[in-house]
Symmetry: C2
Subunit: 391 residues, 2 copies
């Protein structure tokens, strides 16, 4: 049996295989991007699912429309006006199976084999993997603490004639937790506005800001329909229902609709209807406020634990929100080797090298702080230190 050529690029990640070992409950995992399950509105969903099924079950167990449940599309559009400062209607929203599906669809819509895709470096591993199915050439744009560096971006745009997509996570970036400065957002959008390059703005964590003011989204700075937004309920409600969305011009949404017809017809209908019911009858803003409180305190606990257990040698850039903390071991230390030792001590994280499309940066690591309560965070960091000393 012969596979398609693209399968050469779609390979099992060594790290993912390692991390499969971390699924036992006795492992302290800083690895995944998992929200805290004890904060899910579980009881509210139990009542909502029962009520929606009992009264409107026939509708929501039947096929739905490809673009998604219309009242939910409208709610998302309204909410985006409030949270991201963008003026959109339900016609600008297409519901996806989590925002991961939006990554796949953007690849399908824009990328030919060999097309250039611009991204940050480091960037979200699973996005790279989604795009690889379309065999683009990844061109990482050098970044500093404020975001992509304008001079490098301009130079790349001058030298690369076939750039088909730019993938950006400006808010609490995965893996670094970085939030792009407002000035940099404006400057980068000004550069892109001179081109026709579509910009995919992935924003799963934007509402999880612990302090400071949210800078304008790239979409709110876009005056020509160039930005495509990806959003999700995974981090603000729960990830298991797989409900995310694409925000774009009506013309682009009609293309994504055709892609989704072929890919899976539509997203599971009942979860869409039940999330809509949650938005109508519960207080999502209050729920998000409580997530922020808990996650900020877990972030603080992790920073304190790192200070306590690693008195020398770790470079940490504390994030103002999101789920991740990015840290660098002393130059020359291998985070992959550290992970192997850590797994023996039942603690896990993701080595940072995996997030760099061009390789290198083997001394970096991504630590998730949202999934574990404070005492486990401290114990996990203590074990990491112990593993470090045995390297």
């Amino acid at each position: 049996m012969r596979y398609a050529d693209r399968m050469q690029h779609i390979r099992a990640s060594e790290i993912r295989e390692l991390l499969k070992l971390t699924e036992q409950p006795d492992v302290i995992s800083f690895a995944g991007g998992l929200p805290a399950p004890d904060l899910f509105p579980t009881q509210q969903f139990a009542d909502i699912f029962h009520d929606v099924l009992a009264h409107e079950g026939e509708s929501y167990l039947q096929y739905g429309t490809t673009a998604g449940h219309n009242p939910l599309r409208a709610s998302i559009a309204t909410r985006l006006g409030k949270t991201s400062g963008v003026l959109v209607e339900s016609e600008n929203i297409l519901i996806t199976n989590g925002s991961q599906q939006g990554l796949d669809f953007a690849g399908k819509l824009f990328l030919n084999k060999g097309s250039v895709l611009l991204c940050e470096s480091p960037t979200y591993l699973a996005a790279i993997n989604a795009f690889k199915a379309y065999e683009p050439r990844f061109v990482p744009v050098p970044t500093d603490r404020e975001g992509m560096i304008p001079d490098f971006l301009e130079e790349i745009i001058r030298n690369e004639p076939d750039i088909r997509l730019a993938y950006i996570i400006p808010e609490f970036q995965n893996p670094t937790g970085k939030s792009w400065s407002e000035a940099r957002r404006r400057r980068i959008m000004e550069i892109f506005s001179r081109t026709e390059i579509p910009i995919l703005e992935d924003n799963p964590y934007g509402e999880l800001r612990f302090e400071g003011k949210t800078p304008p989204s790239l979409m709110s700075l876009d005056h020509k329909g160039q930005v495509i937004g990806l959003g999700t309920f995974s981090k603000i409600l729960c990830p298991g229902l797989r409900v995310g969305w694409i925000t774009a011009s009506e013309e682009l949404i009609s293309r994504f609709d055709l892609i989704k017809q072929g890919a899976d017809l539509h997203t599971s209908h009942l979860p869409q209807a039940c999330i809509q019911r949650y938005l109508e009858t519960c207080d999502l803003d209050a729920h998000i406020a409580s997530l922020r409180t808990v996650y900020a305190s877990r972030r603080d606990a992790m920073i304190q634990a790192l200070d306590r257990h690693f008195p020398e040698g770790l470079t940490v850039d504390p994030p103002s929100g999101g789920l991740f903390l990015w840290a660098a071991l002393p130059e020359g230390t291998s985070a992959r080797r550290l992970l192997e030792r850590c797994l023996d001590l039942k603690v896990a994280f993701v080595p940072g090298g995996a997030f760099f499309p061009e390789g290198g940066h083997e001394n970096t690591m991504r630590l998730n702080f949202s999934n574990m309560p404070e005492p486990r965070i401290d114990e996990g960091i203590r074990r990491m230190r112990q593993a470090c000393l045995s390297l």
Copy 2:
């Protein structure tokens, strides 16, 4: 903005646009492949979703594994042993968002641009659309009432060096409702077994047999792991939850797992857990038996209505199961033009020409009989006759 080359092939279907008009409740629709919503186990699901969420909500609102909920994979494997005569384990099952997603993934796994894809003619429209994203060349294999014609298949295999996939719906085929004979299944599998061509056996309707004995599945006749099965709960439980599956060798499942990681991480977790609970606590076989009774009676009602209202001129080949009846108007009559007239009278169906990759056959049509109660079926066929007379 420039789209990828593949988007030239992914276009809105004129018929789909027409059929959007049929979504009002006063339209009698024979168009979609919709199961009867009044037969969904709605109340049982209301209790199950409540119970699963109340007791295990934290698990099923959290991320799940890419291949799917393990107990459900095991249940499907066991059930396939009973219904399709295949010996598989949970490791041979990957859960998809409906079987439509299995079509997309098979395209992604096997098809390069220009690869040859063998299919029946006519065949399932949405499968063609899923595969088009991978830009294959469709080579329809001529079929008769028993299935693909062996001589033609052998000739095509001799002449086409780059066949990468064969797509077959041997049981209650969409759109014709035809079930391949056992002798033909054996002969075709014997021919394929001399090649390495993967065979995608799509079987959404197999359990909806009204009379006669189910012939062996292609997978049960496969001795070298060449057949990939697609299955779904859409027609035997409900389509809105979007839970289907791929059945294949462990090696192939590991490839599909990588593809699914990139495509959407996993299928909605809670619906998988609730379908599993349904399988554990309810009687799916009894439920399917009641579907068979209702759908057989609706099929009969449609055949009688066609006899009554079209005393001359319609060629109908009554199916022994499934959801569809295939009919031919007199040569030279355009089913597309008939549809336009029918829409004025608020009755809808799908013109058959759309199902032929090579075009033609404009006098054929596909009529769904599962979604409407008997009196509406009779009234709908009466209106179709009226529309016909006005052509």
